[in-house]
Symmetry: C2
Subunit: 119 residues, 2 copies
């Protein structure tokens, strides 16, 4: 057991840490009224299949809500970030920030000078 | 094709993005003379098996160098970040920072006020 401040690597919840899901969550976080499936697919540069697969994971975790409606005769799928999704996502971003800061500090502290060292 | 500035989700190289490997790379980045396997295992809170597995991935990518020596009769394994590992790790951290900033901006812009909205 250590008393030092722990860097929260364990908090990098896999559900949000996966790059495509991070992109999806970011797009949804900035769209309180939700995004259409089509817009989300374009914003995140994903195929239909990949977007569906990631949304399923997020929906099962209750992080997003998926609603199917009709605009005239055209079906529309709207994806919205839930409050249950926003809170853990914000917690994830906080942990990610700490982890990133620790890494940047480490890189800066461990950076070798340009001149070579003996030994 | 879009002209807007792309957020570099694709740059989140899986090799460094995995939380345990991110912890390992951070520990090594701050230790120019390397870390012993034992210290690294403690710092990153990993089992022997997990640490070995992640180090193998990093070694195959030439991101770390693993050296076995003897201190008296005791074997010691020292792991060092290579220059070939430091550069892409720094690039990864730069991309991670951009991705994080985009997510934080999105969360802030999309945050709903405490009072409920109609409609």
């Amino acid at each position: 057991m250590t008393s030092k401040k722990e860097i929260p690597y364990a908090d990098l919840k896999r559900i949000f840490h996966e790059p495509n899901r991070l992109a999806i969550m970011t797009a949804l976080a900035g769209a309180p009224k939700g995004c259409s499936f089509t817009d989300l697919r374009g914003t995140c540069a994903l195929t239909d299949g990949n977007l569906s697969r990631h949304l399923k994971v997020l929906e099962e975790a209750k992080a997003v809500r998926i609603e199917k409606t009709f605009v005239g005769v055209k079906p529309r799928t709207t994806v919205t970030l839930t409050d249950d999704g926003r809170q853990p996502f914000m917690a994830y971003l906080k942990s990610l920030k700490e982890v990133l800061q620790a890494a940047v500090r480490a890189v800066q502290s461990g950076h070798k000078p340009a001149t070579s060292q003996s030994g």
